[in-house]
Amino acid sequence: MPDASLSALAAQLAAKQVSSRELARQYLDRIAALNPAINAFITVDAEKTLLEAAAADARIAAGQAGPLTGVPIAHKDIFCTDGWLTTCGSKMLHNFVAPYDAHVIQRFKAAGMPSLGKTNMDEFAMGSSNETSYFGAVKNPWNTACVPGGSSGGAAACVAARMAPAATGTDTGGSIRQPAALCGITGLKPTYGLVSRYGMIAFASSLDQAGPMAPSAEDCALLLNVMTGFDPNDSTSLEREKEDYTRDLDQPLAGLRVGLPREFFAEGLNSEVAAAVEAAVTELKKLGATTVEISLANSKLAIPVYYVLAPAEASSNLSRFDGVRYGYRAPDYASLDDMYCKTRAQGFGAEVKRRILIGAYVLSHGYYDAYYLQAQKIRRLIADDFNQAFKACDIILGPTAPGTAFKLGEKSDDPVEMYLNDLYTIPANLAGLPGMSLPCGFDAKGLPIGLQLVGNYFSEAKMLNVAHQYQRATDWHSRQPEDLK
């Protein structure tokens, strides 16, 4: 079971070789066994999961099953889930039982996929190591002394440890791709606007995008079919024809032009990561691809731009956490104002407060033009670089992260060092482009290495095609942590 792909699980369910309840029970058992060591889940509720699984079984029995009905999935604790604790990894929401379902949750429910629980994450999705969670750090299944990456660290770890066959994640600056890379799984951040943000607790609204995380590209394609689609409740949701993201998986790669941005192979990249990525390029060439060197000259500014725009939006998005209508309220206060200040000082962790302060500063009187407006202008330059690059290539390839999983605590005292981990992932968020990470090897310590693909707008099917063909030729994505098997 732990090795089964989503399509294999769906086939077993359809053939009545296994019931959704049995499947859910098996994964719940594995969660019970492994989660104490990994801490990938904040909330597990077997009763709720099994009820949903029973409903899926009924659908299957009634002949009303969809392609993935009965296959369980884990959801990042950033998605509001009706009747489930939804914490966003924060003390601020440690007691928040959501009274409604996020659009993404609605879609998975409609697809008949039972929820295995809510996965751990960096607080309000702010972090690259999952160490900022109020509910404790997640451990990397490949080496529990290492971080799983973040912010969707619980999602990546639970999939890597096969505690769930798949998981949802969100990506504002790399929060799907970087943990996917560090945990050796496949994760995709779609084009901005393809997946509704309704009910997904906002970090930086103009960058946030939900996506699938699973062992393989084929799994991700199936999940993307469920997740994407127009939602009238999200003004930034795009009205587009529904696509089948599996349609091009088996297309040959002959003639594919792969762009290699020279800035992504420059100083700061770990040599083992560089070697693995170059090996992947060789593999793609064997499959018929050609390469072309491209330049994303302004991408070096992606981190400064991101650390202005994302905190600015976050500082405003997180103002609703004021202790009035839900969530944490400080126990002692002298006045309304004191209640606000204490609630927010106590309810938010250090990294979240740091980003709120940065955001408040760059938007404040006298600084807006120099910071916020300047960052928005450079954001356009970064997006323009991609537009230029896609004239010369079909897909852009590079490393997902500059290194492999680092030790817990290694970078937690140095915010800038931590921020640099998202060097290669942030540009796609700023441009709104789709990006994905897939496993392409291991370093000498046995830690997974991630390969990043960035496609043009709405080219998810093409990216998945490239990733799937690569995964047919290699087996990095099907390897599992030895001692967890």
Binding site: N95, F96, V97, P99, G193, S206, L207, S235, T236, L238, E239, K300, L301, I303, P304, V305, Y307, V308, S315, S319, D322, G323, V324, R325, Y326, G327, R329, S335, L336, D337, D338, M339, Y340, C341, K342, R344, A345, F348, K353, R354, I356, L357, I358, A360, Y361, S364, Q374, A375, Q376, K377, I378, R380, L381, A383, P415, V416, Y419, A431, G432, Y457
Partner: protein
């Protein structure tokens, strides 16, 4: 440029986050390393560049003026820190 502890206290005040002098000092040092990183974008000439606020160049979709919501205050207030008679309670507001 760099932030002073007073700047930190001013923005913490704007953000309604309680902060004492020692915390302001520590935060100031951290924020300044971040602002040193951010400062690298100041050298770029962007005079002729239009700011990019959204990933897609699309316009706002408009909703028909129809009442679609029902009363759900009981469910919403089940998770509220303090309510009475359907109202959210907060410490006395002085105008």
């Amino acid at each position: 440029m760099s932030l002073t502890p007073d700047d930190v206290k001013r923005i913490a005040r704007l953000a309604r986050i309680e902060i004492d002098d020692a915390q302001a000092q520590a935060t100031q040092a951290q924020l300044n390393t971040i602002f040193d990183l951010i400062a690298t974008m100041q050298a770029v000439d962007t005079a002729s560049i239009a700011p990019m606020a959204h990933a897609q160049e699309v316009y706002q979709r408009l909703r028909d003026d129809v009442v679609t919501e029902t009363d759900r205050h009981a469910a919403f207030q089940a998770v509220a820190p303090a309510v009475e008679n359907g109202l959210y309670l907060v410490p006395k507001v002085i105008e």
